[in-house]
Symmetry: C2
Subunit: 456 residues, 2 copies
Amino acid sequence: MDEETLEEETEKKNLESLRGIIGSKDPDALSAFFDSQNPVDFAHTAAELDEEELKELTPLLDDDELASLMEESEDDERIRIARTLDNKRLLTAFEYMQKDDIVDMLGDFPIGRRKEVINLMKADDRRIINTLLRYPEDSAGGLMTTAYIALREKLSVSSGLDKIREIGPKTEVIETIFVINDCRQLIGWCDLRDLLAAPKDRHLSDIMHDKVISVAPETDQEETAHIVSKYDLDALPVVSRTNQILGIITVDDVIDVIVQEYDEDILQMGGVSKEENIDTSLAESIKMRLPWLLVNLLTAFLASYTVKSFEDTIAKVVALSAIMTIVSGMGGNAGTQTMSILVRELSQKNLKFSDCIRPFLKEIALGVVNGAATGAVTAVVVYFMYGNAFLGMITLMAMIGNLVVAGVCGFLVPVVLKKIHADPAIASSIFVTTATDVLGFFIFLGLANVFLRYLI
Amino acid sequence: MDEETLEEETEKKNLESLRGIIGSKDPDALSAFFDSQNPVDFAHTAAELDEEELKELTPLLDDDELASLMEESEDDERIRIARTLDNKRLLTAFEYMQKDDIVDMLGDFPIGRRKEVINLMKADDRRIINTLLRYPEDSAGGLMTTAYIALREKLSVSSGLDKIREIGPKTEVIETIFVINDCRQLIGWCDLRDLLAAPKDRHLSDIMHDKVISVAPETDQEETAHIVSKYDLDALPVVSRTNQILGIITVDDVIDVIVQEYDEDILQMGGVSKEENIDTSLAESIKMRLPWLLVNLLTAFLASYTVKSFEDTIAKVVALSAIMTIVSGMGGNAGTQTMSILVRELSQKNLKFSDCIRPFLKEIALGVVNGAATGAVTAVVVYFMYGNAFLGMITLMAMIGNLVVAGVCGFLVPVVLKKIHADPAIASSIFVTTATDVLGFFIFLGLANVFLRYLI
């Protein structure tokens, strides 16, 4: 049995056990089952339950088990779980959850229930939750948690360690301790290692590092993830305009952001909305994909119109209609190659103008060389198929021409889109393939028209 | 001035300052400059220096500054720095570096120098380095560091904390403490929080968690990254067949792996080698891109041959040659949409057969609906352009047919590639677009041939 099948088998067995326990309504058996698994795997199994089963599962769970289940579940799964709970039970479970997870959940609630639940919270919690809810989900503020450790600069190392011992269990990050002044302004940070090694009577201000990298709550999540990964941070503090610490962003949230942003790029490069996945309904899929196809249809008309203008030429040498598809298709392939390199390069940094010149010239040279190579192969095939050397020559020239077009457009389109602050991943491909289609047809049929008398 | 220009300005100013300091040959000024910056930014600036400047920079750096520069530099940059150093200096700098970074560097060295350097190392270091070098760079073993904390189960909490205070500064992760038995087998882990909160005289075995997620050193880096991100781990232990701990994988390495794997997917979906970037030389680029273009050329011949078989039909109704490009092009676009969804879905998990049926049927329905919509628009345009309703009808039918082909192939090709353990990101697009080209031409021109007498 290979590894994948083994994993599927385990999942199936877990689901069966869970269903058995739900049937027996035995909370102790459920606790034992819960303890025997990683919470992530338990959430994974619970996601396979139908509505009825889920409704019977949640009353059997302890509050902390329920909280863990919600924390480890996917967004839509959390909502499905919350629907089986009344507000009182939900609030008890929230006691065991991180504030940023609660906010994520509430953000997906219907507005009515969200307000109900928030109004039932303790004043302190309500204030924090309302503040966090203000920030867009894809900003640093929407991503941050309030469960961090910030200690006053005047604290001694030993009192600092006492504090950490006390609040540590409730925080997400313990390795990085932030240091604040009396106005709660962020003025430094300590590594827990430094604290453990330092003499007990020193003040935090003596041992802290005073260069802190931080972001504003409005910072885009992609930019935020980039900073955490660039500087290898455990935790990135989010600060107000007056430099007061509002929360921290932890590295596990950053991984989720990176995965999400890349997935979006891959989908959008393929002309699909970032919201779509394999379970999207037919109606939704139509609504999301058809507009893109209609935009592409416009560009297809353009290419088709180019061919139509050479109808007289094609009528005289009908072989052109078969060969022209090779020229346009190869241009599209070569253009996509260049474009992929640029899109990836631009996703990580800005290219300075002076850094562009050499690579741009290289793409042109590459168009000539690759065009000559593929064109020569095609020319030979064309010659043997149609017995006309001129037809082969024209194909070769057109192929070189179109692969140079591919290199130029594959390079410039993403760069220009980035410059005008559009996302190169979304829009590049339509411009590049339109150019290689239209110009591919134009160059090939145009050359054929010029040398028509040698072709007939 | 917008933010990007500001960043560029800062970079330019930093580079000028660094050049000035190199010119003045003043190590104190350099140390002050080094301290004023984040090491990542310093490495970034140093990467802009030319060979001569770099050669003058390295003697001015302290050993720990040099080590930090090498740790924070990109792979090829590290090699450029190492070239300015003799073996003695290199070994001194290595003292300040993590073993996994040293191994990464040595792996990129020319084999001669690598052996020289390793032979000059202390026996202990040599043994560790040689062990780490045995694992492929893209495996868990190649990724792991040996700077972790593993304590014996019989240790008391207070001696454990003493140990941590002592070796903590040399390790990469302090939050997770691994617990081993007398045979160095991994039997559990503690959160540093638990240790700080626990009574001083308890044994580690009393407070440890005994469910440990670990991987074998041969595990692929993508799989490894997936486990760390799925279970939100700080550190993932790598263990031998006999469950002895060999090293740990830290979350910052995992982020690098995720970014790298996604970049590879994006490049390979575009038909480019994962090794290529914007600075690849012309000769290298040709070597990497031409083979893919030649493979594509073969499929282009196939499509072209399909058109050629209908030459007689086209000769009679030359308008077909313009319209057929719309049908094939739209099929390609729709196929790419479906394929992108599937490639993304498959990159994260396996799809069970039973999960596939509904989405597959949806893609077929989507092909019919989107084909009918874009086909109807095209049919109207064709009717007004060529004044032939039958031509419009045939276009509509062909468009529906080809968008169904696109849905079927866009779905099945990635699924089948995954099933036979090929990477869907690399090879899907060529199969899908070949299908939509060949069948697009075939359906459209075939229909035209059948209804030929209504078209003339």
